[in-house]
């Protein structure tokens, strides 16, 4: 498995990143361009409720729990991928 510090270029082939994008698609606005640098709160046309639903879907897909304070620390998709790896390590 990849480490959280991998570059943006490498990230796009990372399995967690691919899963995050897959789960994000139905919640993001149709014309949103998703990249590792996308800021979840402002770049993807998602309000706080859409983000909450996306996190539930991601938790189910990855079989892990993302506590609220971890979500609060996340800004970009790359941050989220890193947070997932840390949570998987801690589990």
């Amino acid at each position: 498995m990849s480490e959280p510090s991998i570059s943006s270029a490498e990230l796009i082939t990372d399995p967690v990143y691919i899963e995050v994008v897959k789960q994000l698609r139905p919640h993001a606005s149709k014309d949103a361009s998703i990249s590792p640098e996308s800021i979840i709160l402002s770049d993807l046309g998602m309000d706080s409720l859409a983000i909450m639903d996306f996190v539930f879907d991601l938790e189910d897909a990855l079989d892990l729990t993302i506590p609220e304070h971890r979500i609060a620390e996340v800004k970009t998709i790359a941050d989220l991928v890193a947070a997932v790896y840390l949570l998987q390590k801690e589990a």
């Binding site: 309000d47 409720l49 909450m52 729990t65 506590p67 609220e68 304070h69 589990a91």
Partner: protein, 435 residues
């Protein structure tokens, strides 16, 4: 001023609301006539959004008790009970609450909001886990901010999702406190309590239920959803408020868990706020003493709720999932939601306008709360006006195209369902029947 710049988006919404009509945050009643009527902008208005479920705000015995306490003990306590000591009424009300719920101990708070802050924020500390429903009230979210516990959300009313979250915590040390509400305040839907308790018991967690909207409303003696579902022995903590059925202000935590008293010394919202004034305590005590016997009011409340729900459903509105004293029309178009709310105000009906993100799934809601004090004529008028304005706005079809698929008799009221089930099964415990 720059310090207010961060509120610009809020300010924009407020200005937008004011540009097309009234703003919910700046409404001011000229006069309150009764639990169900007020004068607003010079017009007599039906109050259909005040959570005054039993209609006790003008109860003469409560008013008399309040006046007596004001005269005998003054206007306020001027401090917290930790600093200024307790009045006899504080302890008496706690004893009466504990007795009412059949629990060992009760703690009073100055509002229902603070009861949740004080209970949830204190019971779960560092190293513990708070598992909260995704549609939780703001007081629960704010309590989580006050707590040092790790906060985990589960999908709304979803015991399977809750079980998954608890399963992942199974090997982790620390207490797990599940927080749910009996009736959720926006759509009026109830918690699947038996299923939630099965999950709690399986994983050895504790359960706190906020019965804010069900006190006086559900259960044979008005103790709420836990009484109606017959699961009170499985509940660890109950919070509630006096600002709805009890008709005044204040909040409480009750529990059978031994040693609850220590929470007073660890609960900042208990320690650092002035305690309830004697007049409020006196009116709360009087109203609480009436709740168990208020079967006629509960029957009227549920009949009114059923009438409103069925009337709006038949008119073609998209409503919350079940009959409840909270009836919400769900809309996707903000303009139409605001226009419906304003149209009703202009026609003499006050309801609540609820906007995202305070609403589930991003709906724009016209939220009504029903009182036992409403007359059938008031409900019928509210339905008629809603339907008329809803048709004008294109929210619902014209009468000819409305299907007759939902007749009033087909709309299930929990009270009536419980009664029917009890009649079917004669060996059922009669106390499970909603009065």
């Amino acid at each position: 001023m720059a310090i207010f710049d961060k509120f610009q988006p809020l300010s924009d919404v407020h200005d937008q609301l004011k540009s097309v009509g009234q703003s919910p945050s700046s409404l001011q009643f000229d006069e309150i006539i009764s639990p169900t009527e007020a004068v607003l902008n010079g017009r007599r208005t039906i109050l259909l959004g005040t959570n005054n479920y039993l209609g006790l705000t003008f109860d003469q015995t409560s008013i008399d008790k309040g006046i007596e306490a004001l005269r005998e003990q003054g206007t306020g306590t001027t401090g917290s009970r930790i600093a200024n000591g307790s009045y006899d009424g504080h302890k008496a009300l706690e004893n009466e609450l504990a007795e009412f719920y059949g629990m060992h101990d009760a703690i009073l708070y100055s509002t229902g909001y603070m009861a949740n802050l004080g209970a949830i924020g204190t019971l779960a500390g560092r190293g513990d886990y708070l598992l909260i429903d995704a549609d939780s009230h703001a007081s629960i979210h704010d309590a989580c901010k006050l707590s040092d516990a790790e906060v985990i959300r589960f999908r709304h009313n979803d015991p399977v999702n809750l079980a998954k979250k608890l399963e992942r915590l199974a090997d982790k040390p620390g207490e797990k406190l599940i927080v749910i509400e009996s009736i959720y305040s926006m759509l009026g839907d109830t918690s699947p309590l038996k299923e939630m308790i099965a999950v709690k018991n399986k994983y050895g967690a504790s359960l706190l239920i906020d019965e804010a909207h069900s006190l006086g409303v559900m259960g044979a003696t008005g103790r709420g959803l836990c009484e109606l579902a017959g699961v009170e022995k499985d509940i660890d903590f109950v919070t509630g408020t006096f600002s709805k059925s009890i008709g005044t202000i204040g909040g409480f935590l009750v529990s059978n868990v031994p040693g609850l008293d220590i929470v007073r010394l660890a609960s900042r919202p208990y320690m650092f706020t002035a305690s309830l004034p004697p007049s409020v305590v006196a009116t709360a005590r009087q109203a609480l003493s009436r709740v168990a016997g208020a079967t006629v009011e509960r029957t009227r409340l549920w009949d009114n709720a059923t009438q409103l729900y069925a009337g709006l459903k038949n008119a073609g509105f998209d409503l919350g999932p079940q009959v409840s004293p909270i009836v919400a029309i769900r809309m996707q178009d903000p303009g139409k939601a605001v226009a419906l709310w304003n149209g009703l105000l202009d026609a003499g009906v006050y309801t609540n306008l609820a906007l995202p993100p305070a609403t589930p799934s991003g709906w724009f809601l016209l939220r009504s709360s029903i009182s036992a004090a409403h007359t059938s004529q008031q409900i019928a008028l509210a339905v008629e006006l809603c339907a008329k304005i809803g048709r004008e706005l294109g929210l619902i079809p014209c009468p000819a195209t409305v299907g007759a698929s939902v007749e009033m008799m087909n709309v299930a009221s929990p009270r009536k369902v419980a009664k029917q089930e009890a009649e079917k099964s004669s060996d059922e415990d009669e106390t499970a029947v909603q009065a």
